[in-house]
């Protein structure tokens, strides 16, 4: 717990960060930058867990562990995602999300 910083402030920060990630995910054209945005979102969630854990339920550490696992999964997800990016890049020589739209309607 950080003294003198109210929980609400902490939550404002994480929420902001989360929606910055959302914003990035919705606007970035490059797939990799989209992945970056997802990481930012996950990071915000991690912080959220930690803050709740730390402010409200000190000593239970559930949020703490949750964050650890989220990080691990994020890593795995990123690995697979990047592998697929590369596969796509091999096929269409681009990793622009707007060009990955051959299937629609």
């Amino acid at each position: 717990m950080v003294e003198q910083v109210p929980l609400n402030h902490a939550l404002i920060i994480t929420t902001l960060m989360f929606f910055i990630g959302v914003y990035g995910f919705l606007t970035r054209k490059n797939l990799i930058t989209m992945l970056i945005s997802v990481e930012i979102m996950l990071n915000a969630v991690n912080l959220n867990f930690v803050f709740f854990d730390n402010y409200l339920f000190p000593g239970k550490l559930e949020g703490h562990f949750f964050s650890i696992f989220i990080i691990a999964i994020a890593a795995a997800e990123a690995a697979v995602a990047i592998a697929i990016f590369i596969s796509l890049y091999r096929n269409i020589r681009s990793i622009d999300v707007e060009e990955a739209n051959t299937m629609k309607h």
């Binding site: 919705l26 990955a100 739209n101």
Partner: protein
């Protein structure tokens, strides 16, 4: 002593119908005719037996000879099939079987060279069966059933030469017009039965036991009045009363013996029979309805007589004369009272029905003999036939005299009674009736003079007398026409079952005979020799004459209503409406669904980010709605 055997009167023709109908391809043609004739012959014999037995027994009561439930509607209403014997039904049995038998025999000669001989006799038997069933009906509904059967057999017989388009049209018209009238009949039956809880004549003809509300329900008439008017509508349809008469002249497209049987002697008087059957109801509860009946009768008799004067088709003249004569009968019924002297009209009407059957059948059979000889219906192409067909000539003359009401032929007696009955109640109608008597004599003798005297035409092959098998029935009918007038009819048939002593009303008789004779005289003057008098006369009447030859354009009005209004203005738009509005609406649902599907396809844009955008927007909208809901 029982009357159980009467059931065979009805069943035998039916058997003949079935045998001829099913075996049509296997039976030798000759046989089928004889089977039918034999069947009707036995029926005739049995009818006479019944009549003898019935009228010689002291009671004039109604006798139920046979009765079985045929269909049950509810606890009270059920259709029975049975045989009811009372004076009028027995009288009708005699008339029908007699005329039928004559026509059957006559047809053996007349139809000899036509195809479909077996079909003809099968339909003819069906008709006799239906007609017999009709007159012996024990209840209204049985009557309605046979009524319909009569209609269909008439349809089939008119349409006998079905490969001629005019025949097809005529048969169709006959059926549809009568069907339309029958609708009224049916509704009338339903209304009566709803009020009384029965169809049974035994109850309906004893009005003492019934009670009807006489408060007016609709347009100032009480329910029962309406019901009886509707029933009369049915009768008017079958009996070709104005304005439902239009089918009868066209029905002459059928074989001539058929016209003799159906459209002169039997079926067309079914309407008269119907009113007579329900007469106690009419006179007890619906005097207004009787008034309408009388009016329609009077109007029709004059109307048809006028048209008959202007026609040239021999059978059409006879047809209009039939209409006119039936108008007489209806008029007589309409002016009649119930019981005692007041009921003279009732007796007179049925008496005329009886005599009319003989002489009108004779007229038609005679016409058939003429047509058989000259192969045309148009009297302008005939003339001088008295030389070629002496027997036919004599017989036809007898018939003409009878219909004209010249004593001592039967027509004189019956017509006299009618005129007497009308005179006592409605002087105006009497005037019309007497006038019509003169007109009748005129147009009949117009026909007679043109055909048998006049200038001899050049025939393709010389007309010759018809064979004996056709002459014999005509002779028998002529005998009937000559002598039936002497039957003391009122002794047997009256509205309340009490004997009614008929006597000749001399002033009436003399006036009618005078009118008749003057009619004959005019006809002799105009048509005995070639003369322009008739043309001048026609010119004098001008448009009146033209419209009379055109049958007062009633047919055209009908065509306008049916073809123009119903077909073009209702059915066609309806069919269009069905396809293009209702069905199109259903299709529209489908196409709109498809259209919507096309419109929203951009949501599935293939753009991952748009998907995510919709995703997060969806989440936020749901949240927002909950925030909104809790505020």
């Amino acid at each position: 002593m029982g009357y159980q055997y009467t059931i065979w009167i009805v069943i035998l023709p039916f058997l003949a119908f079935v045998i001829n109908g099913l075996g049509s391809e296997k039976l030798p043609t000759k046989i089928s005719g004889w089977i039918a004739t034999l069947a009707i012959g036995i029926s005739t014999f049995l009818s006479y037996e019944t009549a003898f037995q019935y009228f010689t027994s002291p009671s004039g009561e109604k006798i139920i000879a046979f009765k079985t439930i045929w269909l049950r509607f509810n606890d009270t209403l059920h259709i029975d099939i049975g045989i009811l014997l009372d004076p009028i039904s027995v009288m009708m049995l005699v008339v029908i079987t007699t005329v039928s038998l004559m026509v059957f025999i006559y047809s053996q000669g007349y139809m000899k060279n036509e195809g479909g001989y077996d079909r003809y006799f099968s339909f003819l038997s069906l008709f006799s069966f239906s007609m017999l069933g009709l007159v012996v009906a024990t209840n209204l509904f049985q009557m309605y059933m046979f009524w319909e059967l009569v209609g269909i057999s008439s349809y089939l017989l008119i349409g006998f030469y079905y490969d001629k388009p005019s025949v097809v049209a005529a048969s169709k018209k006959a059926f549809i017009v009568t069907r339309f009238a029958d609708m009224g009949f049916l509704i009338g039956i339903l209304m009566i039965s709803y009020s009384t809880g029965t169809f049974d004549f035994e109850i309906l003809t004893k009005p003492e036991g019934l009670s009807f509300s006489t408060t007016s329900t609709f347009l100032g008439f009480s329910t029962i009045t309406w019901a009886l008017l509707l029933v009369f509508m049915g009768g008017a349809g079958k009996s070709a009363m104005f304005p439902l008469h239009i089918w009868l002249p066209d029905a002459m497209e059928g074989p001539t013996p058929v016209s003799a049987l159906i459209h002169a002697a039997t079926m067309v008087v079914a309407g008269v029979f119907l009113i007579a059957r329900l007469f106690p109801l009419y006179s007890a509860f619906a005097p207004h309805a009787l008034g309408v009946v009388a009016f329609i009768g009077a109007f029709t008799t004059l109307f048809a007589a006028v048209i008959a004067c202007t026609q040239f088709d021999i059978k059409r003249i006879l047809a209009f004369s039939t209409i006119s004569q039936i108008g007489y009968m209806v008029l007589a019924l309409g002016v009649s009272g119930y019981g005692g002297e007041a009921a003279l009209g009732y007796t007179a009407s049925l008496f005329h029905l009886f005599t009319h059957a003989f002489f009108k059948a004779l007229l038609f059979l005679g016409a058939g003999a003429i047509i058989h000889a000259v192969h045309t219906n148009d009297i302008r192409e005939m003339g001088g036939l008295s030389k070629h067909q002496p027997f036919t000539h004599i017989l036809f003359l007898i018939a003409c005299l009878t219909i004209a009401g010249i004593p001592p032929f039967a027509g004189f007696f019956s017509k006299d009674e009618i005129l007497a009955a009308v005179l006592t109640t409605h002087p105006i109608y009497f005037g019309i009736a007497v006038l019509v008597a003169g007109l009748t004599a005129f147009y009949m003798f117009r026909l007679y003079f043109i055909v048998f005297w006049g200038k001899a035409r050049n025939y393709d092959h010389s007309p010759h007398e018809v064979p004996a098998i056709m002459l014999i029935p005509m002779i028998l009918l002529a005998l009937g026409s000559m002598f039936t007038g002497f039957i003391p009819f009122g002794q047997f048939i009256s509205s309340d079952g009490q004997p009614l002593v008929g006597h000749i009303n001399w002033p009436v008789a003399i006036s009618s005979v005078v009118f008749a004779l003057s009619g004959i005289g005019v006809a002799w003057k105009f048509y005995m020799k070639e003369s322009s008098a008739s043309d001048n006369m026609a010119k004098a009447f001008g448009s009146m004459y033209t419209s009379a030859t055109k049958k007062f354009y009633i047919d055209e009005i009908y065509i306008l209503v049916t073809k123009g209004v119903i077909f073009q203005m209702i059915s066609k738009p309806l069919a269009w409406f069905d396809r293009n509005v209702i069905d199109a609406f259903m299709n529209l649902l489908a196409t709109k669904t498809n259209w919507t599907s096309m419109q929203i396809k951009e949501f599935q844009s293939g753009q991952l980010q748009k998907y995510a955008f919709i995703f997060i927007s969806g989440v936020l909208i749901i949240v927002l709605s909950f925030i909104y809901a809790t505020r």
